[in-house]
Symmetry: none
């Protein structure tokens, strides 16, 4: 009798626990602007010899139209680490100069899980789309990302946090932006894609990140 009672209580508490669903913030950029963006405050400095950058992103801006800025980290004089969807549909990584480009599936109105990894030692860069890795390309081996800038979503700063061009702005929805100062394995990125929340980002952790919103960006809290 005592055992049965315990089981019932356990069952009840379990179902209560599962009723508390995890929540997640999502950023909605409703229209083309040259002043709407979100600054991401990092947990530690961005002097990095390697990184993994992940986000979930949806947009209806079709390729062939124009480029779209997906992530911009700029110091006073340099675009330290920019991720673009190019006008021709390719994806580009730029670190202080010429970029490297990848042919990936087109972004669309449904969420795509996008990760980008780079390692200075080997120079290997690769994208992961919905958990599947692209080919690796050699890019700027020996290079280092410098500290002292700002990371923003939504706009490309042609100088330090200004000179935005609405024709490069992001329109759509971005969430679950996480960054690590090392390269995650393919298996880890596949796990992140299907919703596993480990390892937590040590540069940006979307669960606890501080966001500074400017202009017309809606911050939605959604149930997972």
């Amino acid at each position: 009798m005592g055992l049965l009672a315990t089981l019932l209580i356990f069952g009840v508490s379990l179902s209560f626990a599962s009723a508390e669903r995890p929540m997640r913030r999502s950023l909605v950029f409703p229209m083309e602007t040259d002043n709407s963006y979100v600054e991401l405050v990092p947990q530690k400095d961005l002097d990095m010899g390697a990184f993994t950058l992940c986000m979930r992103v949806a947009t209806e801006l079709a390729k062939g139209n124009r480029e779209i800025i997906l992530f911009a980290y700029r110091t006073l004089y340099f675009d330290e680490l920019n991720m673009w969807r190019e006008a021709d549909g390719r994806y580009g990584l730029f670190m202080s100069g010429e970029g490297v480009f990848f042919h990936l599936p087109e972004l669309n109105t449904f969420q795509t899980h996008l990760c980008l990894t780079w390692d200075s030692k080997s120079g290997m860069a690769a994208f992961h789309v919905d958990g599947k890795r692209s080919i690796r390309k050699v890019y700027k081996s020996g290079h280092k990302v410098q500290n002292g800038g700002k990371v923003i979503l939504g706009q490309d700063p042609d100088s330090f946090l200004k000179d935005f061009d609405s024709k490069q702005s992001f329109v759509g929805e971005i969430t679950d932006v996480n960054m690590w100062d090392y390269v995650l394995s393919d298996a880890m990125i596949e796990a992140l894609h299907v919703g596993k929340r480990m390892p937590r980002g040590n540069i940006f952790d979307w669960e606890t990140i501080e966001l500074i919103v400017n202009g017309n960006v809606k911050v939605i809290t959604e149930e997972l």
Copy 2:
């Protein structure tokens, strides 16, 4: 012993119950007309500050040809809540005036599970196609859907339940139309897509809904 016997009987009756396969009504609109439509009788008034509208829909009317009305709720002077497939293939939500448009996969001869959500407070509107959510768009925050009209499938009334245009009529098959006066979570809509029947619609519940058929519309009962 008595408890065990009860459990066994309970188990048996459950399995018998599941042997009775559920049935579902489906509406077949066989051809273009300007007089065939189905009125849906709601369970409660449609004065709504938020909604979720779902249906399973199949049509062979390709995009590029013409627009298709998917759902029309009209009061005496206003199109309160209309859902369209536009001639250019986009999907539109219209509430008393200008619409908001989404780029979604094309409807086809196989069933697509389509949901549309909107919330007055945030103004967020989104489609869900076969369980996947589109980007959210900001639309008419602060607006309210008014009571006192009629909901029909198959035609777009340019005045109150008349002035139908055959070139906007629906041709194909619609079933499982459900409506709630609140926004369902992404996870709930994904569950509905794969056939879970909870939560039941509190505005329209397809299992019990009263349908008033006009003109050439076939009501099929299909095994699920």
Copy 3:
């Protein structure tokens, strides 16, 4: 001890049994001809007020080129039940006169599981492609398929088993042709698509069917 031994032997014999993989005949029509066809001998008369016709079919004859006969049941004066891939890519069902047409995915070099259902009472006709049902169309309600003809694959007889046109002949591979004189549920057809062999066809059952081969048609036996 004796019981345990029995169980072990039973287990062993079961695993041997499952090692005998089922086999299936497949018909290869290697080239355009006006004389190659296969007659299917039915298990019972074809006077039918309803039917389900299924087959697995692969062809590299692209749409836009020419029509392809997929199934022909002809009595002395009538095309009782013909299934076509039209030159424009649509699929057609013809019973003694005008046909009804469906927009379905194109046949290709890989096997497509194709089913066609029709019921005289409601007049509802629908295709199922790889387990997914098309919209239903109303066609010849009240009509009956007549007895006394021949069913052939590969050619369209413009008179009783002659007057073949090579430009309508089938080129490719057909297997698993089954027919019932009633309409199978969507769930049953989905089960057939994924390889379930129940219910067995009561007009044609591909496992036991008698085939009469004419001309250049190869009968392959393949392991499933």
